[in-house]
Symmetry: C2
Subunit: 681 residues, 2 copies
């Protein structure tokens, strides 16, 4: 479960705080954090301008080189749907392959693959049918829909920014509304919209009362139209409903983790600000996206992790709740220490935070623009033990890319209740344990005499008492001899006397313990990670022409969409033959590459492949040895034709770095002719 | 585009044959082929029984070992939705990875990744909104839906099988209805159902008239409810709508291929026979499935393929149209010859048939149970040049798993027309070419005098004439001096005189040719391929106990879900340390494996891993060298601990076979104790 305010509302679910204004300060702070204000208070106009210019350069390159494009463009596109073109698709495949290696394979997780089409009952149990909603208002004449909270936010912000006549009281009021926005009920939002006279931004028409809009894509399964279904809003539920089989598959042993990669769907309504679609949010705000989710099931009484030592020495930026609430910044923490000091709730959660850190930084995310932010109390579900988001800073601010939550037993219990199938684990004791158990023994005879026809209801109510209730009754009976007792099924209180029930703690032998496992859930928004990766890897360097800037995606070989290019230096047959031979060897080694016979200048070809982040280029300028060039340093070495595929494989598989390779082969000095032409692109 | 009768109806689209009975013989033949009758006429009861027993053994093993299970099982499941559990998910990932290597990487295809949610306009253009339907009838009282053709088929079959009093005329009639079933219109189906008095099988209630049910899952995009959308029924459309960008990405050069792997959705209504859901169709008949599709764009005037020689020597089972229509069997053909003799329409189509053959057989599909069947004329769309299905024989008969169609320019033209965006390619001539072109020059003056206010309409109609119409008019004018001409915009004929228009073929210089590319489309139903692979790899061998049969999935290492297991022979610490060391080396080499410390008997452990198709097992019975065992031969060799991961990698990467390895290492003779225990599982 990750992303979107609705999912957060769902996570925090009921009971909604009756007095949302209590958490106001914390929420305001969270908004500032999200906008990057707290972290960089001097958010000057020029810094914003630079950010904007950088973003334009990145996204123009991404769209021009078909990393991604708006879907169905020839039909005008659909907000929030994007296609990955060839290089984007390759980056995505690489990220997912590495995710499988890093998590599924290294941790021995059980991967599953469930359908997107989901029957209603499953999402009723999970809470999505009832709670996964945004509050909308409708233009009463045109029917255009708006997010109610967005309109109210825009109104307040506008007042604060542009109205110089505001009284200090009004200023405080608008700030307060902004702070509590996320926690307002439909009624409270509607009242504010009425009070401030907010109308439809496009038409100035009056607005309807706020109503909940479910963010799931609804559909119908089968021809009868009688089986409602939804496109899954997350992949997690497919794992929970399979818990029983997976637990059995794992030899009825805990802990174990299941994982799933797949599409998820959210019919987001938040594509507009004042009715204007803002297409530049690109891959960060979409209606269909790839999620990679892990559900790690543990014994709630033992959340230690056997491999925690493997990550416990890692240090990285963390942003605990305390730091956020006291207005401080994120800081470097040692994850081992954070767990031992209780900042992070348990070892398993800490282990995954460490593993996520390694995953993201090995992909190419800049460790200085990555932080783990702990959820504030009002962001978290009432059942959650602890929750941390991996946030990555990009030109849009800090973006939540991975959520790592200890969701306790909530999900398994919900499906257990709804389906009637026990989703639980058991621990066999090495030898039977003696436990104290409460035993309630009503006296049928006495109850019958006292309550006659109501005997059964009273008896059942007594047996259904919780331990606390029973112990309270026991002490009351012992001190006073009788006690008033509410029997719900009768709708009234009855008087229970000492003779009617005996309540005792008794010793019993137990052979096993049954329990609902807790689940630790790392949930990865793959598209968001990829977008941030694009920004972190992008840079420009001067070309030969004045003011010319050449674009480079400095992807690590692991994620580079194409690992290598092969160019004949000039368009002559003997070089083309060698180029084809090398291409064949690269294919056999499973290395994605391009062979470019166009005869463009070498400089132009380098510039083109730098722009899609190809780490290595092979120029065939000889029939026995060739030039290999590194994208970032532009260093060149000479390698034998027969050896070149294995050298490229060594670097792109991560066994060696370019620096390692450099020393083993003679350097090649670029001719003036080659480099000069780089400016002609 | 692949699978399902509705898609076939769509492919064959309009115009529906006005006299469907013409193609009767061919259709009847196709049905027999599908049922395996033509190929194996002696389909005796005992053969069917064996098939059934084999299928039960396979599917029981598959479900018990969680290769796949019905989705949402704890809620009773949903017909046609399946989850891949851990081993199934790994097999699927391996199949897709190999598909990427074999097609995308080796052919330099442009891979894209488009959303499943698709706006209506796209599927309106492709024909799916109007044509992708099944004809249904409803129980008029309960609302239960049935496939109209299924009910009619069941009725006729039942009559033929059970009614001994049938006259020869009636027998012929029922056989005839069965033969033409696929081609009956709604009206014809309805009339037959009425004529035969067919009622709802469950309730005997009367049935509604047949009505078309669209097989796409419908949904709505955005909060307004005003933008209908569908879950894509195939991935191909995402490629077609991106043609312009992809062509540009490819340097405006043909041919090139784009590819996409992704989920597709079909709200199949055919899960019941007489209202009884038949769950055993498993992965063959599903509502959501993974497709892998290639759209190879070529110049319609040149469908040669530069790499055709790489496959032209291949020989495999082919089943050309002629063989089917003359009642012969599939036969071994050389694909080079099949193309040169015109059996296969063109080289590109032939190339892909060859590549598909290599792909499937390298996965582990038995080449003797794989055939390429050419579509009969009435199966093919009117625009299609040629179409071959890769069919794999399993216990359900011959299953269409890959469709390989030359769809000509149909799809690009459809989207071009609907979107108004030209989806075409151009060929620049080395030097300008002189071409003859028709030039129609109406005389405005004469038209104005004759038609006054209608002048513009007549003029536009003249200019819009096709070449044939214009040449006909020219000759009529030359012979008769005037001609009647229908002007649609006026709704009437007018008389055109010789003076009003000049029509001439003129010579012009052209610098390039513009055209809509043809598309060759190989489309892979991944789930069907995987199911057939399960059947082809499954075998049983006797255990030690009497009558005991041990299940084995003989997967090639390429697709095996887990490549290797590591067991300490006995549960002692020094062996466990070695096992962990080996496991670490395997992980580093990217080899999926299981480490089993349970202390079960070695025989039991072998049997368990044979059943999920693990090719190699490492038994740690020493601290310096270990035993490696081959699943199929049960041969064992001894390998040094430090070497074992690289030996396993060699075999599972396909660089060496077990036979290669065997000779390099000393054999290990299994102790009686080890093998005896195999029977205890």
């Amino acid at each position: 479960m990750l992303l979107s305010s609705a999912s957060r509302a769902l996570a925090a679910a009921k009971p909604r705080s009756p007095e949302p204004f209590a958490a106001a300060a914390a929420v305001l702070l969270r908004r500032q954090l999200a906008a990057g204000m707290a972290a960089a208070p001097a958010s000057s106009a020029s810094a914003a301008g630079n950010r904007e210019a950088f973003r334009v350069a990145v996204t123009n390159t991404l769209e021009r080189r078909l990393f991604y494009v708006p879907s169905f463009k020839i039909y005008g596109g659909v907000a929030g749907l994007y296609d990955y073109g060839p290089p984007g698709c390759a980056v995505k495949a690489n990220v997912l392959a590495f995710w499988r290696q890093h998590f599924v394979l290294e941790e021995g997780m059980l991967e599953v693959d469930c359908p997107c089409v989901t029957p209603e009952v499953v999402l009723k149990a999970s809470g999505h049918v009832d709670k996964f909603t945004d509050l909308m208002v409708k233009d009463e004449k045109t029917g255009t829909c708006y997010r109610a909270d967005h309109l109210l936010k825009d109104f307040c912000k506008d007042k604060l920014e542009k109205d110089n006549t505001l009284s200090p009281e009004k200023t405080a009021e608008f700030n307060h509304v902004l702070a509590v926005l996320d926690d307002l009920s439909a009624e409270q939002l509607g009242a504010k919209i009425k009070e401030y006279g907010i109308v439809a931004p496009d038409t100035k028409n009056p607005l309807s009362d706020p109503y909940p809009f479910n963010l799931m894509f609804q559909t119908s399964i089968g021809p009868s139209g009688l089986s409602p279904g939804y496109m899954r809003p997350e992949t997690a539920q497919g794992i929970f409903v399979n818990f029983k089989d997976l637990y059995y598959y794992n030899g009825n042993k805990l802990p174990f983790a299941a994982a799933q990669i797949g599409q998820a769907f959210r019919n987001e309504a938040r594509f507009s600000q004042n009715g204007v679609i803002s297409p530049r949010q690109g891959l960060l705000r979409v209606r269909e996206f790839t999620l990679a989710e892990i559900e790690h099931f543990v014994d709630p009484e033992d959340k230690s992790h056997p491999k925690f030592r493997d990550v416990s020495d890692l240090e990285f930026l963390m942003f605990p709740r305390e730091q956020q609430l006291t207005g401080k910044s994120a800081m470097k923490l040692n994850i081992g220490q954070a767990v031992s000091e209780g900042t992070v709730n348990n070892e398993t959660l800490g282990y995954f935070i460490g593993r996520v850190y390694l995953f993201l930084t090995q992909l190419g995310i800049d460790k200085d623009r990555l932080r783990f932010r702990q959820h504030l109390p009002n962001e978290m579900a009432h059942y959650a033990a602890d929750c941390w988001d991996a946030e990555i800073e990009c030109s849009f601010g800090w973006i939540e890319c991975v959520g790592i939550a200890d969701r306790s037993a909530y999900d398994l219990r919900a499906h257990s209740d709804k389906s009637g199938v026990a989703l639980e684990a058991h621990e066999k004791f090495a030898e039977p344990r003696e436990v104290e158990k409460l035993v309630i023994t009503p006296s049928k005879k006495e109850l019958g005499l006292a309550f006659k026809g109501n005997q059964r209801m009273v008896l059942e109510a007594l047996e259904a008492m919780s331990e606390t209730e029973a112990l309270n009754m026991k002490s009351a009976l012992e001190s006073k001899g009788e006690v008033e007792f509410k029997v719900c099924t009768l709708g009234k209180d009855v008087t229970i006397k000492k003779s009617m029930v005996s309540i005792n703690m008794e010793k019993k032998k137990e052979h096993q313990r049954k329990f609902t496992p807790s689940v630790i859930e790392p949930s990865f928004g793959i598209g968001r990670i990829i977008y941030c990766l694009f920004e972190h890897c992008f840079y420009q360097r001067p070309g030969k022409a004045e003011d010319e800037q050449l674009n480079v995606f400095g992807f690590p070989p692991l994620v580079a969409p194409i690992k290598c290019t092969v160019f004949p230096l000039v368009k002559i047959e003997k070089f083309e033959v060698v180029a084809k031979k090398i291409s064949k060897a690269l294919t056999a080694a499973g290395i994605s590459h391009i062979i470019d016979m166009t005869g463009n200048t070498i400089g132009k070809r380098y510039a083109r492949t730098d722009e899609i982040g190809v780490p290595l280029a092979i120029t065939v300028d000889n029939t026995t040895s060739v030039t290999v060039r590194d994208r970032d340093s532009k260093d060149q070495i000479r390698v034998e034709v027969d050896e070149v595929a294995s050298v490229v494989k060594e670097v792109t598989d991560g066994q060696s770095t370019w620096a390692d390779i450099m020393w083993r082969y003679p350097a090649h000095t670029a001719s003036a002719a080659e480099e000069e032409e780089a400016s002609e692109t």
